[in-house]
Subunit: 342 residues, 2 copies
Amino acid sequence: MTGSDGGNSAYGNRTFQRSKAHFTDRITADGRDGWPVEPGRYRLVVSRACPWASRALVSRRLLGLESALSLAVADPIQDDRSWRFTLDPDGRDPVLGIRYLSEAYDRREADHPGGVSVPAIVDVPSGKLVTNDYQQITLDLATEWRALHRDGAPDLYPEALRDEIDAVMADVYEDVNNGVYRAGFATEQAEYEAACSAVFRRLELLTPRLARQRYLVGDTITEADIRLFTTLVRFDAVYHGHFKCNRWKLAENKVLWGYVRDLYQTPGFGDTVDFDHIKRHYYQVHTGINPTRIVPLGPDLSGWLTPHHREELAGRPFGDGTPPGPPPPDEQVSPQGRPTPK
Amino acid sequence: MTGSDGGNSAYGNRTFQRSKAHFTDRITADGRDGWPVEPGRYRLVVSRACPWASRALVSRRLLGLESALSLAVADPIQDDRSWRFTLDPDGRDPVLGIRYLSEAYDRREADHPGGVSVPAIVDVPSGKLVTNDYQQITLDLATEWRALHRDGAPDLYPEALRDEIDAVMADVYEDVNNGVYRAGFATEQAEYEAACSAVFRRLELLTPRLARQRYLVGDTITEADIRLFTTLVRFDAVYHGHFKCNRWKLAENKVLWGYVRDLYQTPGFGDTVDFDHIKRHYYQVHTGINPTRIVPLGPDLSGWLTPHHREELAGRPFGDGTPPGPPPPDEQVSPQGRPTPK
């Protein structure tokens, strides 16, 4: 999210606190904040390492917004100016023409408080940041961008289920999405233990629910699944070891391991995930936790492609809709970021 | 072994090298080095955290040498004077009367080179260190101390199998026992990757062998099993996360997980293991790897007590001998160091 999560965390003197997004303008169908939904006008900036940005990557794929909302992928390793476009030719985003995401932040507001975070949506004509509101962006993609959705796009935030989705997401945010960070960035044993215990308590509460039903809410994929997925897909790779959430690996929990593999193997989920970016980001950026910056060889990724048998549960992944097609050729995850079949 | 393995390792400027033991006198039946085997004369100093010292803990139990060779257990957390007796009343070993193991080293040789390491055997009358030769001590307990073995003690180093035992132990030492340290203390990515790959390559070579036979060599427990056990029992608790040997957890390898649980549940093995000492030592002493000194809550230990079904393989754990009885009451591992049945 922010540069080394340094805008949020504090090593050594206080409890980890995740910042609220500073730029909370919304891009809406009616343009009430001055930012109407328009095809081709905005650019989504992500890191494939970041779970918060990855929510938007998944939503954009599921909803078929690839051509309406273009994509910039930042280098997983930030420097002291934060996220940078060093994966692109000449180290510049080819559409925005900038080297650092911070340049779009600065164009919007000089000396803005808070860090430079992804996901970020930038207005291409002005080069200004519109929003870095990680809690709102995907909800708006699901609801405000409907006119630009592909045919067969699922309803990721159905009105009838919003109360339940919101309730599940609130618990998952507190204990899991953000809980792993509170565990990993803890500087005191008691603080770590409280966070780590909450992570596993919540996962153990979710387990019987997901043993009975294929998805978290209703019988289709919703925003709640996207938000749980982006943490779970990182669990064994970085949260287990690097953040010390090591009571068990996800691969040892039959239900959750089946659930996350089911989603991983669903078009729009796994095809956004780059394990290489994930591992290099966490292990190389957080030098307060991993001073050697060595990136582990494990875990073995081949299990991600094994049968999960979740089809046996009732459930219609896309409801009355259809799965998305493959990602655009220039958005394929590199081979080193993906599991190789055994 | 040594203080934070600082006598052996080097953070930041050179490849990890394990020191040879400096004091290599042997305690033998014929006393040819001046140190004859005698009941009650020597004191074994260990840390329950240390895999090298734990070899001697297991051998002593299997051979029934508890009353012949007394035991001092050091605090798992060393300070800058290395291993200390802070678990004992007034912070002094009640038999040797010393606060630091280094005092016995100093009595033997002022300004000795190399670190202060466990296992160490001290001559009680003189208070002098006799040996810290971690590769030889257990072989001598098995062969030179025979006159003091309990009735029914197994032959842990049978003559007819020594070539095979030595060959297996040499590979296991290089790739596994010491390999996990080379991985964990690596300061360069390539160095880490070579070591970590060798760890798993060796474990994968051992897997089919241990799928066929209950023990590494022959059909009984030998020194080779003791040496593999003391690394494997620590694998998921510290080597997997802290030393980044994370291709898979041992609990994910059916054969090795069965093998190590079989030994853990065998009298003389698991009753020497203190997971609390192990975790606190590694995570709190190696601040170059874990600067926060936070000790993870995981892994869940309850699996250690689950059925392993290894009895189905041919094999006679103690050969023509018998298992040892329970450990002496004052040598019981504390409850926080042991798994609780589910």
